[in-house]
Structures are given as structure tokens and as C-alpha cells.
Symmetry: C2
Subunit: 250 residues, 2 copies
Amino acid sequence: MLQAENVYYPKELTNGGLLGSEPHCLQGLFRKQPVEHLAAGQSLFFEGDAAKHVFEVVEGDLRIFKIISDGRRVITGFLHTGDIVGVSLKNHYLYSAEAITETKVRRFSRKAFEAEISNSPELRPEVFAHLCDEMAAAQDQMVLLSRKNAEERVCSFLLKQLRRHSGCRQSNAIVELPMTRLDMADYLGLTIETVSRTMTKLTNKGIVASVGRHCVRIVRYATIVQLSGNDDEYDGDERAVIAYAGGKRH
Amino acid sequence: MLQAENVYYPKELTNGGLLGSEPHCLQGLFRKQPVEHLAAGQSLFFEGDAAKHVFEVVEGDLRIFKIISDGRRVITGFLHTGDIVGVSLKNHYLYSAEAITETKVRRFSRKAFEAEISNSPELRPEVFAHLCDEMAAAQDQMVLLSRKNAEERVCSFLLKQLRRHSGCRQSNAIVELPMTRLDMADYLGLTIETVSRTMTKLTNKGIVASVGRHCVRIVRYATIVQLSGNDDEYDGDERAVIAYAGGKRH
DNA sequence: CGCATGCTTGAATTTAATCAACCCTAGTGG
DNA sequence: CCACTAGGGTTGATTAAATTCAAGCATGCG
């Protein structure tokens, strides 16, 4: 089921184990754990499995997904270097995780993880912030899936990828898309054909430029922001309140 | 902006204030707070506002929503008696909250709330569980919005409402729908017309029976479960693993 | 080279959205 | 008490967007 069954696990660190070197960030907890390798396509865990570990992505990309009754797949998120997965759940994983590219992860027992957290007033706010970010992302995704058309979805996605990797917001930035078109489709609630057509359209309009299959250059950043349907101009503290009246219906 | 500006707020309770009567559940924290009344349609807080309070719904129903650029509204959830709102965020509310029916709430300062939490090893797991539930609900909603058709959405919604109020899962149960059809539509990512048509269809097929505008009787529970597209038969610990192959495409 | 996989493109179909009309009910006021 | 009204809800006809079905293209790998 899980790979890496032959990896050696050192005795799990309890809070005692970190005396004198208390980590000040979540990633720090994983520092001493051995790195495990996942080949592209390999599963890290499955929806419904007992949630025994929390993971840090050391390098690579994964998809997080759920499968419903008749085989339809919904990707609820992608993970990248530095991300942590497995915090926001109780006893069982709510979703499956699978490597997209070759990937390196570190794991930490949830039990020990929770012990560390509850004993560290330093770390607790960080976990809380992590959960809030996850929640905010989920809400944005609900907005996207609920009310955005294909073009808006794809543009939102490109921006998200852009901001994740580089903090860079300029035109001419390069966005990596390690996942397949099917992954994108299952994340955006579209079909592979619609994603493809939309990408082509953006390319033809000169808004992005294709750089091979898994890479895109942002040509007109401002246009993408506009097409994404997020009022992203205002992402500071103050936010314009927009009345709910007479807008586009859907 | 907010109503109840003329309500008297007692000095906010810090952890000291609860000596000798430490609450063992989140709702307990609010016990001493005054009850505020909201008329139907009144706002509790707005997306983007500084998140100064956490709220407990004492009685009534609210909608939680976001508005995007051109006025499109997305309802990300409904709140009912006993629910707590405002936990999973950092400095600003991520959404607006509005009373659907006449509603009573209690508020608690976030600062004091967080102090209580971080000083109570009893309460912390409860907050954590709350966040996990919120997260799980968000994921289910993403699945619904991403891959379910109108009928599946409406059936999923009816089941959710049914389970929320009564734990009752039988046929012939009555489901209250205090919200309008527009609320349902904006929650389910549909239009009001599609919601209406779908409800009519379910009624004509004898699966539900209409009991006035805001009420429905579940006639064939099993059928609704089936139509909801959730593999809800298995909600114990073990879960069937379903291969991702050859299912309905969308 | 030849195959497989992933991606693109085109045409037909389907679902839900849109546009438009009408109905029902609760609440108001004469 | 009844008529009127406004808001919410339903229903029908038409349209639009995305899906589905189908074919072909590109890239990478044995």
C-alpha cells in the first residue's frame, strides 16, 4: 500500500527529544527525520487510511484527491516543496495523496506531532495559521467551482501556481505546471478538453505563451488577473465592499 | 454596520474569570455572554472586517457567503443553533454572515477566546476537532461543486439538512429549509430555476413531498442517498477503495 | 521505428443558464 | 373581509457553455 516499507524509522522524537534545539517552525520538526523517496505516480496514503503520520514535502509535487462513487475524481489541492500535509484531520485521511513528479518527503508520527504542538506555545499559532490558510484556500476553491467559468478557472489556477512558486507577479514570469491536463481538469472541475481549449485560447490571444507541455510564460499578467475574476487588485487590509446587485448572473 | 450597538457588553472574561467553573465545551465559553438578537436579513459581520469576535448561534439560521467582483454570490455554508463561527481565521473575516431567520447569538472576543483556548488543554482538542470538521465539510462541498449534477447536489443538500437537525435518517422525516431557493442555489452552485425544477422533479417522482415552501418530507430516504452520489452506505471506519477507472466521466 | 500516453482540435450533444411569463402566498391596507 | 401587492417560487422556451464522442497530433521511451 504505502511504499517505503523498508525505510528505517528512528525512535520518534517526543518533546524530550528536542531539548536544546526546539524548532521555531513546523518544518523544523521534520529536520531529523529520514527522507523518503516517491516515484512519480506513487501513493503516499489513501483516503480512509488511519492517519498515522504528518508529512513534509522536501521536494517535488503531489496531488490530493477524493474519488466518488462511480469513479469520478476530484483533486482538492496540490502540494509543493515546503508544504505540510496531514494536519487537519482526526483519525482518518480525508483524501488520498499521490506523487506527481519524483518526490521526497519526511514523515512524523501524528501522535508525536500533536504532543509537540500541545507542548509548544511557539508552534501552536503556526499550526493554527496553517489551518486557517488551508481553510481560506478551500473557500477560494469553492468560489471558483461554484461560480467561475472555464477561462476564469484556468486564469485563477495560473495565478495560484505563479504565486506559489515565485512570489513574482510580473509579466514574463514562467509558471511550472508539473501536473497533467487531467490533473488540472479534475482540480478545476472541468474536462481535459475544456482545459486544453482554454489554454489554447489564452495562447492565441497572446496572454500566455506555451513553453512546452509543463510550462507557460505569463505574457500579460494584468489581463490574467482581470480574467481570473478575483478582485486581486485589493489584497491589502482594506477591501472594497461590493453590493450584491445587478452583477453578471452567473 | 453591525446591529446591537446598544447592547451592553460585560467585561470580557479572561481565563481568570472562569476560575472554578472551567467549561468543558466550547459552547460553555459563551454561557455568560449576553444574547443578541438579529432580525431576518440582518448582517452579523462582513467579509474583510477585522475579526474581533467569535460567535455562538443560540437560535436561528444564518448564511455565510462571499461576493466576487461582479456581484456573484457564493454561499459557503449555513449556520444553525449550536454552531460556532469565526474560529478559523486570522485577522479578518473571510466571509460575511447574515441572519436568515430571526436569530439569537452570543459573542466572545477573539482575543479572550484564544487566551482561553491556549490555557485549556480541555478545550484545545475541541477547537481542533471543530477546525477538522469545517475542513471536511469544505472538502465535501468541493466535491459537490466540482463533479455533481443538479440532482445530486440537491439530494446531497437535503441529506445534509436532514442530518444536521435530527440525527434521524429514516424515511418520512421532515426537513426544514429555512433559507430561500436563491440561498440554496448560491450554495449549490446552481440557479434558482434549476433548484426549483429539481425539487419539482423529486416531488413528482415521489421521492420527497413538499410541505410548504420551507419544508420537505423525505419519502424515500434510500433513493435520496443513492441519488446524492455519496457512497454513504459506508460511513463506518472501513471504507471501500474504489479504483479510478471507467466511471461516469462527469 | 513503433507504440503509448498525453494533448489538441472538431462536431454533436447535453445540461444547466438565461429570458420571460405566470402563479402562489403572506402581508398590507382599505 | 377582501383586494392589492410584493416577493419568492414555478414553469416553459430558448440559448450558451461545457461535455461527450471522435479523430488526429506530438512527445518520449522501449
